[in-house]
Amino acid sequence: MSKMEIRLAGTGGQGLITGTIILAEAGIFENKFVAQSQSYGPEARGGMCKGEVIISDERIGFTKVTKPTFVMALSQLSFEKYCFGLDEDCFVLVDETIDVPKEYDHKKFMKLPILATAREKVGKMQTVNIVSVGAINKILGLCSDESIKEAVLLHVPKGTEELNLKALYEGAALVK
C-alpha cells in the first residue's frame, strides 16, 4: 500500500493551505483517496499555519497527518516545530532562508530558494505556494505535468493563471 502524508508549514498568508488543496486535487486526478485538512489561528494572516494532505491507495480513516512522509517548512518557527523527530524516510524541504543548525542531520533533506523564486523569478510573493507545489510534485512525482497544471488552474483566482503557471514551472525547475 502506498500512503503519502504531506505537511506544508509556514506563515498564514503564504497560501500553503491552498497548496495542500492543489496536491489533494492532483491525488483525485490520479484516482487516489485523499484527505486534506489544515490548522491555523484566528488571525487573517501572519500566524503559524499548516496544511496537510494524505494521499493513499486505500480508504483513509484518521484524516490528520501522524507520520509525515514529506514536510516543507517556509518559516523558521515551522522548521523548528515540524522538522524534528521525523522518520528517517520522511523527506524534508525547507526554504534557503531557514537557519538550519549544523547538527541537524536528517538524511532526506533539501534546501531550495522557494521564497526568492516567487519574489524574483515569478515577480509576485503570493505565488510562493504554487512555486512550492511545482517543486513538491517534481520531488514526489504525484502526478503528470498536465494534471498538476489542471489542479493549479482549478484553485487560483481568475486573471492570475499565467502567473501561477509560471510559478509552477519555476518551482519544478528548482528540483534538479
Binding site: 483525485i28 485523499v34 484527505a35 485538512s37 483513509i60 480513516g61 484518521f62 501522524t66
Partner: protein, 376 residues
C-alpha cells in the same frame, strides 16, 4: 454515480441542501461554518433560490423559519456561539411545526472559545438548548460524502415530521476535503411536506386526525387561514390557555419523534460480531476510531464500533443490545463527556464504560484510543 470530486465538508453540506430542494439560506457567518454561507451566497442565486446575510444569528434563524412557513425549504448554519443565539427560534419552530435545517459546525467552547479548533461540545445543547419539553432530531456526519447525503436526509426528516433538524457537524468534517461522488438526480429520495389538496377548504391547519401526529397544513399564503405563534395554540393556531390542549399538543410533538423511531434512527455498527470492546463515537471522532480499530484488529484485539448517526434521538435499544454483548464500552468524543452521559443513562452501566475525551482544541488521535482500549 458521477465522477469523484474534491470537496470540503461544508461545501458538501451546501450541495446536499440544494439537492434536497433547499432554496433559502439566511445566516450570519462564523468560523468554522463560514464556507456554508459563502457557498450558499454563490449557489442559491444559480438555482433560483435566495441567500440573505442577516444582522445576527437570531434574525437569520427567524428568516429561515419565515421562508419555510411560506413553503420554501430553508437552512441556516452557524457554530457554537451562534448556536446559542439560535436556540430561542429553534424552540419556536418546534412548537409552530415549521420544518427547517439548522447546521451547527461545532467548535471549541465555551463562549467564543477556540474558533478554528474542533469540538463536539454541543451534543447536549442540541437536545436541551431550547427550553421546554420538545422533540429534536440531530444528525452527525463523519465523512464529506455524509455531509452531502445526510444533509439530504436532514431535510427529508424535517419535512416529513414538520420539525427542525439539527445537522450536527464539527470542524473535523466541516473543514475536511476528500473525494465525493455526487449522487445523480433521482438517486436519493426527496421528501416534501404533505399539504392539503385544496388549502382554502382544508379546515384548521394544526388539526390532526386520530392516530396522526403530523398536521397536514398548507404553506402560509396559500389560502388556508391560520395563525402562527410560539404560544400553545388551538387547531386554528390562535393562543389558548387550555390545559387539555397544552397537554395534548406537547405530547403530540414528542410522539411525532418517539412513535417513529424505526423510521428516524440511524447508526453504524462495525466489527461488533465478535467484539469484546465497543467504541462509541459520532461525527469526526469516528475517523480517529476507525484507524484505531484497524490497528487493534491487526493486533488481534476484538474491538468494534457503534456510531450513532442520529445523535438525537439516540439509538438507545441498539446501544443496550450491544452493551449486553461486550465486556467493555469506551465512549470517545471531543468534549468532557456528553454522549457518555446518554450511554450511561440508557445502559444503566457505569463501571463498564470508559471514556476518551478532549477539550483542548486538538483532535483525539488513533493512538489515544488504542491506549484506552488496551488499558481496559
Amino acid at each position: 454515480m458521477g465522477k469523484v470530486k474534491l470537496m470540503q465538508g461544508n461545501e458538501a453540506c451546501v450541495e446536499g441542501a440544494l439537492y434536497a430542494g433547499c432554496r433559502f439560506y439566511a445566516g450570519y457567518p462564523i468560523t468554522p461554518s463560514t464556507e456554508i454561507a459563502e457557498g450558499c451566497a454563490v449557489r442559491m442565486p444559480q438555482v433560483g433560490g435566495h441567500f440573505i446575510q442577516m444582522e445576527d444569528e437570531i434574525a437569520s434563524c427567524a428568516a429561515a423559519i419565515g421562508a419555510s412557513a411560506a413553503g420554501v425549504k430553508s437552512m441556516t448554519a452557524t457554530s457554537g456561539p451562534g448556536f446559542s443565539l439560535k436556540q430561542e427560534n429553534l424552540g419556536y419552530a418546534c412548537l409552530t411545526e415549521v420544518p427547517f435545517v439548522l447546521v451547527d459546525v461545532q467548535r471549541a467552547g465555551p463562549s467564543t472559545g477556540l474558533p478554528t479548533s474542533p469540538s463536539q461540545g454541543d451534543v447536549m445543547q442540541a437536545k436541551w438548548g431550547t427550553h421546554g419539553d420538545h422533540p429534536i432530531i440531530a444528525i452527525a456526519p463523519s465523512t464529506v460524502e455524509e455531509c452531502f447525503r445526510l444533509c439530504v436526509r436532514a431535510f427529508n426528516l424535517s419535512e416529513k415530521y414538520r420539525t427542525p433538524v439539527i445537522f450536527l457537524m464539527d470542524e473535523i468534517v466541516g473543514h475536511l476535503r476528500e473525494g465525493i461522488e455526487i449522487p445523480e438526480d433521482g438517486e436519493l429520495p426527496i421528501v416534501n411536506r404533505a399539504i392539503p389538496a385544496d388549502p382554502a377548504s382544508a379546515g384548521h391547519a394544526y388539526a390532526t386526525k386520530e392516530g396522526q401526529t403530523v398536521p397536514v397544513m398548507a404553506p402560509f399564503g396559500m389560502g388556508q387561514r391560520y395563525n402562527i405563534t410560539g404560544l400553545i395554540h388551538a387547531d386554528d393556531g390562535f393562543p389558548t390557555n387550555s390545559t387539555d390542549i397544552a397537554d395534548s399538543q406537547v405530547k403530540r410533538l414528542i410522539r411525532k419523534i418517539d412513535d417513529n423511531l424505526d423510521d428516524i434512527l440511524s447508526w453504524e455498527e462495525k466489527d461488533l460480531d465478535d467484539a469484546d470492546v465497543c467504541v462509541v463515537c459520532f461525527g469526526g471522532t469516528a475517523r480517529s476510531v476507525y484507524s484505531a480499530v484497524e490497528t487493534l484488529r491487526n493486533e488481534g484485539v476484538k474491538v468494534g464500533v457503534f456510531r450513532p448517526i442520529t445523535v438525537w434521538p439516540f439509538p438507545a435499544e441498539e446501544m443496550r443490545r450491544i452493551a449486553g454483548k461486550v465486556k467493555k464500552i469506551i465512549v470517545a468524543e471531543h468534549n468532557d463527556g456528553q454522549m457518555l452521559l446518554e450511554v450511561q443513562r440508557v445502559t444503566g452501566l457505569y463501571d463498564k464504560i470508559g471514556f476518551v475525551g478532549k477539550v483542548n482544541g486538538t483532535v483525539i488521535t488513533p493512538e489515544e484510543i488504542v491506549k484506552a482500549v488496551k488499558e481496559g
